[in-house]
């Protein structure tokens, strides 16, 4: 799987690059409504066709990628930071702190995660920051569990005892001796989770809870053009393909990271 992981990584990097460069690439304006070219099929001028408002779908998919990918990555980073902190505290402190924090994790995991994210998106005003928070509120739990497990095993190692005997404070041991060792696994888990976050972002967008129109996001493009699938299937096909390929590459990458890290991660 190593080779596939590398290829997936390269493809993903190309996606990200194209999405980031979308504003400077010679593309049609993703916001320009053109009533003379409604729902045109794919052509040289419009590689992915045009949507129900005559906007160029290729350009909207690239611009949408910028939002969708960055929201998913931001959600992964936020989840990792929260989960890292909670896992470190839970594992290092142990005892009652550990019991309470892990009970919170179990509590969150016992809810259907999509509905929880929807509930959060309803409380906060719709937009990309809300989506990030909604995904992260559910996503941090797996990071917390895995980091906690790592901390528990490192805590018993001789170097911790040595640090104690030198007179290091608990803070210093937790932050400078144990925490750095947990960073690699956090990165691996981020790779594993990223594909799922891309899908959740798209789903929330599809349900109308993400960035509001006319801002292009992949999920919202699909729900906006759903009514026209029979006459103009390309309006739905290409944004969905973008979601699928991005999630696919992320998952391939995550998989090979998991294999390379030699760590048996229980998800």
């Amino acid at each position: 799987m190593r080779k596939t992981g590398r290829i997936a990584g390269i493809v993903l990097a190309v996606f990200v690059l194209v999405a980031v460069l979308a504003p400077v690439l010679p593309l049609a304006d993703p916001y320009r409504i053109d009533l003379d070219s409604l729902r045109l099929p794919p052509s040289w001028e419009h590689p992915f066709g045009t949507d129900s408002k005559g906007r160029d779908i290729f350009s909207r998919v690239l611009h949408g990628g910028q939002i969708s990918i960055s929201v998913a990555v931001a959600a992964a980073v936020i989840s990792a930071l929260i989960g890292f902190g909670v896992g470190l505290v839970s594992g290092y402190c142990g005892g009652k702190v550990d019991t309470v924090l892990m009970a919170a994790v179990d509590f969150i995991l016992s809810f259907p995660s999509l509905l929880l994210a929807v509930a959060i998106s309803v409380i906060l005003p719709p937009g990309i920051y809300t989506v990030m928070i909604a995904i992260a509120c559910v996503g941090w739990t797996s990071f917390a569990r895995i980091v906690r497990g790592q901390v528990l095993s490192y805590k018993e190692m001789p170097f911790v005892e040595a640090a104690r005997s030198y007179g290091c404070s608990h803070w210093r041991i937790a932050l400078f001796h144990i925490a750095p060792l947990c960073i690699p696994i956090c990165l691996v888990v981020m790779g594993i989770k990223l594909g799922g976050f891309v899908l959740t972002e798209a789903t929330l967008g599809f349900l109308g809870l993400g960035a509001q129109p006319p801002t292009p996001t992949w999920g919202a493009m699909i729900s906006a053009n759903r009514a026209y699938i029979l006459s103009a299937p390309w309006t739905v096909f290409f944004p969905g393909l973008a979601i699928f390929l991005t999630a696919f590459c992320c998952n391939l990458l995550g998989d090979s990271l998991k294999e390379r890290s030699d760590l048996r991660i229980k998800e």
């Binding site: 799987m1 596939t4 016992s110 809810f111 259907p112 999509l114 509905l115 929807v118 509930a119 309803v122 409380i123 594909g195 899908l199 798209a202 789903t203 599809f206 349900l207 999920g219 699909i222 729900s223 759903r226 699938i229 029979l230 299937p233 739905v236 096909f237 944004p239 969905g240 979601i243 699928f244 999630a247 696919f248 992320c250 998952n251 391939l252 998989d255």
Partner: protein, 310 residues
């Protein structure tokens, strides 16, 4: 065993109390007023006040909670703020639909997932294994709503084989079940592969080989049985989550189930509906966990269910 099951059911009561209290508190602390949502912001203050009194949202938190509990004790989940229908009746109608969809999904996903996983494990590191792995990663990467719409376009609108949406008989259930089954089967196949590979390295498998047992017998009797625990776990988790409603799939295919009901409840701040769905969800979660635990014990008698016997 009976006392164990009984104990689990008794434990359900404090759990439900806790869950209702937490969800009730969370709902009450939300910004936004269900009454304003109901009548619109232009209604006269008198009208708003009278609806508040009617719904009881003008009372204190604990009086409201106590009122809800006493209703609940009589098997009354209250009425929906929006449709004014009994939540219990709605749940009665919608839950069987969700149940049917979940069963149909598992009927596709479980055999497909286990079969793919076993094939991949047996043919480890061959082209077949790689292909199965690629397909399963694709399966977990596919956005359900897009897959559903595309399948609907192909099967219902172009080939005209099945009705595109609605709740009803077999012809309505095939597509949503298939859409849900793809990611479920993919996850299951991945878990099965890992689990079967693990089980194949166990010493008793080598013993069976040495005794001259056939490959098929080893696979079915010695390997698969030991590999089943993680598989059962995943099936339980998936089944539980589908019983709580597959929000997106139900929305796309117009399936009249719990998922859509919950989602609508959340979007409209329909508190009795949200509470009712949370309760049902908790009960389902606990029951599925109980069945999974009983299955663990049945599959591997070394797993003791009652702590005291340890």
């Amino acid at each position: 065993m009976k006392s164990y099951i009984l104990k689990r059911f008794v434990l359900l009561i404090p759990l439900l109390l806790g869950i209702t209290l937490v969800s009730f508190a969370m709902l009450k602390s939300l910004p936004g007023d269900p009454v304003l949502n109901l009548v619109g912001e232009r209604a006269s203050p008198e009208a708003i006040e009278s609806i508040r009194r009617e719904l009881g949202t003008d009372q204190g938190f604990f009086r409201q909670y106590a009122g809800y509990l006493s209703l609940l004790a009589q098997g009354d989940f209250g009425r929906s703020y929006h449709t004014n229908r009994q939540v219990s009746e709605e749940l009665n109608r919608k839950f069987p639909n969700t149940m049917r969809l979940a069963l149909a999904t598992m009927a596709i996903a479980v055999p497909a997932g286990i079969l793919l996983g076993v094939i991949a494990a047996v043919r480890r590191n061959t082209i077949i294994d790689r292909m199965v792995q690629a397909v399963t990663i694709a399966g977990v990467s596919i956005p359900v709503f897009w897959f559903g719409i595309m399948l609907m376009l192909l099967v219902c609108l172009h080939l005209r084989l099945l009705p595109p949406s609605g709740t009803g008989g077999v012809q309505f259930i095939v597509l949503p079940a298939l859409v849900l089954a793809v990611p479920a089967a993919a996850t299951l196949a991945r878990v099965t592969r890992t689990s079967v590979l693990d089980a194949m390295t166990m010493p008793h498998v080598r013993t069976a080989q040495a005794r001259g047992a056939s490959r098929r017998r080893i696979l079915l009797w010695h390997v698969l049985r030991n590999a089943l625990i993680p598989i059962v776990t995943i099936i339980g988790l998936d089944f539980g989550s589908y019983l709580n409603g597959a929000v997106v799939t139900e929305t796309i295919f117009g399936w009249d189930g719990i998922g859509r009901f919950t989602m609508d409840g959340i979007l409209k701040r329909d508190y009795p509906v949200i509470m009712g769905c949370t309760m049902i969800g908790t009960v389902v979660f606990v029951l599925v966990n109980l069945v999974t635990d009983l299955l663990y014990h049945y599959l591997d008698p070394r797993i003791r269910l009652d702590e005291k016997n340890r």
